[in-house]
């Protein structure tokens, strides 16, 4: 790139690689190693090699199946909801007359609130003030329309939906921001010529804007999917995995097994399984979107 001779970029990179190896590589290797052992938390020196036994037990465990199902519903629900909401808000923000105005900047500042709100507090706030069946905000609003809201977090049929909506609320600002920035890169001439052809408003959005930002939609969907997949804080504070374990996503199951049951071998087997799932997801994604499209 440049003609400098005595400069070695590795001198800048190496400390980072070493730090990353220690804080990222070492725990991951350790997680895999522990997952092959029987290890109880209160007897740390009594580590017995059991091979893939933890994984075999895992696959036969109905609680694991339940958690896998909740995690799939939760992650996909959060992703779909936050991408759709993000597209809707960003599209309206990008229309002529609003984009670039001080009103747009004002709205955008407040749209960040769910993103910067502390997740555990969001969970508690959701439980006590938003989804509470008798006094909560959601049922209060439903009541204004004469509807009788369900028991939300208490009922097994609705708890997952309330949890998905709460977490999607938290994830949407990122989608709004990225889509808003991406929509700014759509050339104005393209929209003008479409308008002359009679394709304004909705049709321009569906036929021109969305196809042009499809890589960003894919990228945001991947970020939301993986961050919902690993979510712990919000669900832990909102439902604690209940009622009847319907919201007990995999991260919470890892906590149950590892810390509460002190079965470290099993817990690490679950978390390593999560790692494999995420790796597959990212690889599938990288096949579809060329890496070069994103940044750098």
């Amino acid at each position: 790139m440049s003609s400098r001779r005595h400069f070695n970029p590795w001198a800048f990179i190496l400390p980072g690689i070493i730090a990353g190896g220690v804080v990222l590589g070492f725990p991951v290797a350790q997680a895999f190693w522990t997952s092959l052992h029987r290890l109880r938390m209160y007897r740390l020196h009594d580590q017995v090699f059991v091979g893939l036994d933890n994984y075999v037990r895992l696959l036969q465990d109905p609680l694991f199946h339940l958690s896998v199902r909740s995690t799939i519903v939760f992650s996909i629900g959060c992703t779909v909801l936050s991408v759709i909401a993000g597209l809707a808000v960003a599209s309206v923000m990008s229309t002529r007359g609003i984009r670039g105005t001080s009103a747009a900047r004002f709205f955008m500042a407040f749209y960040l609130v769910p993103f910067v709100a502390t997740q555990v507090v969001v969970g508690m706030m959701g439980r006590l003030y938003v989804w509470e069946p008798e006094y909560g905000l959601v049922n209060f609003i439903l009541g204004l329309f004469g509807a009788d809201g369900p028991m939300w977090l208490i009922s097994r049929d609705t708890a997952m939906w309330a949890t998905v909506v709460t977490n999607a609320w938290r994830l949407t600002p990122l989608a709004v921001l990225i889509f808003y920035a991406a929509l700014a890169t759509v050339p104005e001439e393209l929209l003008e010529s479409a308008e002359v052809d009679g394709a304004g408003g909705w049709r321009a959005l569906a036929m021109i804007k969305l196809p042009l930002i499809r890589y960003h939609i894919g990228f945001v969907a991947l970020i939301q999917l993986t961050s919902a997949f690993r979510e712990f804080d919000t669900v832990f504070a909102l439902t604690g995995g209940g009622p009847a374990r319907v919201t007990n996503v995999l991260s919470l199951l890892v906590y149950n097994e590892g810390i509460s049951n002190s079965d470290m071998g099993m817990a690490n087997a679950i978390s390593f399984t999560m790692l494999i799932i995420v790796a597959i997801l990212s690889l599938v994604y990288m096949r579809f979107a060329r890496l070069g499209e994103m940044g750098n």
Binding site: A19, G20, V92, R96, L112, T118, M125, H216, L291
Partner: protein, 285 residues
């Protein structure tokens, strides 16, 4: 002619509808927080309905008093601040030179390999890191110390911050650096005196985001920090006794407000940097 007139009329009529939509979304974003803040100022036993929260009946500071006295707010705030600022410092010191070095790699294969691993580790489930750290720290006696939590935060933030800074460094035109080299600047001098000042807005964005992420973080602190080192996020869950919080609406709200409101106000003030930081790396400029 007719078509053009039609669009301008719908655009003007539509503007009000669009503003209404944007205002509705704003309400969705802030309403839960507003309700909680109002709830924190009310006697819990009087909590009957949402409108009641907005009346003067039962107004009290008692919930805040309890948060400070029994909830030990000041102690946990101190831990939160130590953790967030140390994490921010460590993360920036490690990640900024790394990102700069990556943009300077001549071999595209080496560069792609590193960028790929940065991106891949960005999606790591945190429990994969937290459990082994818990085991390791238990063995070497780092459980319950701030050092352990800060190291965990480095692991959590590194991929994101490197990715962020990569985008900002890549935006520097090569001519600027070449001119500096011709003027006799050393490689480190180019980085320190030429490039770093040019990415200062990016560095601000990274620092602000790193701070917010660390301040809000719960999982690692919950696994790794004992009582002495626990930050506010863990403090509130232990204080209100896990899932049995029914009787303490007001105290939970007050404690929650004390955690959430400072970070929201801070974010509103520096929102420009958060916006630029989050869109960087996802959208090519």
């Amino acid at each position: 002619m007719a078509a053009i007139r039609a669009t301008s009329v719908t655009e003007r009529g539509g503007l009000a509808v669009r503003y209404l939509f944007l205002f509705g979304w704003l309400l969705i974003c802030v309403a839960p927080v507003v309700v909680m803040v109002m709830g924190s100022l009310k006697d819990s036993s009087l909590f009957q309905s949402i409108p009641q929260l907005f009346s003067w009946d039962g107004f009290t500071w008692a919930n805040y008093e309890r948060s400070f006295r029994q909830g030990n707010y000041a102690h946990f705030l101190r831990n939160s601040m130590i953790i967030s600022f140390s994490a921010l410092f460590v993360v920036l010191v490690v990640c900024t030179p790394m990102a700069y070095g990556i943009t300077k790699l001549v071999s595209p294969r080496a560069r792609n390999a590193i960028v790929f691993s940065v991106l891949a580790t960005r999606f790591l489930p945190y429990v994969v890191l937290a459990l082994p750290m818990y085991l390791f720290f238990a063995r070497v006696g780092l459980t319950g110390t701030l050092v352990g939590v800060v190291l965990a935060h480095l692991a959590m933030q590194m991929p994101f911050i490197v990715w962020l800074m990569l985008g900002f460094f890549a935006g520097i035109p090569p001519e600027v650096e070449e001119a500096a080299v011709i003027d006799g600047a050393s490689p480190f001098g180019v980085f320190w005196r030429i490039c770093l000042p040019m990415v200062l807005p990016g560095l601000n964005a990274a620092a602000i985001l790193a701070f917010i992420i660390s301040y809000n973080e719960f999982l690692f602190a919950f696994f790794l920090a004992g009582y002495e080192a626990q930050p506010l996020t863990v403090g509130i869950t232990r204080f209100v006794g896990g899932t049995d919080v029914g009787a303490q609406y007001g105290v939970v709200a007050a404690y929650g407000t004390l955690i959430i409101l400072p970070i929201i106000v801070f974010a509103l003030i520096v929102n420009r940097y958060i916006v630029s930081g989050l869109t960087q790396g996802a959208v090519k400029g």
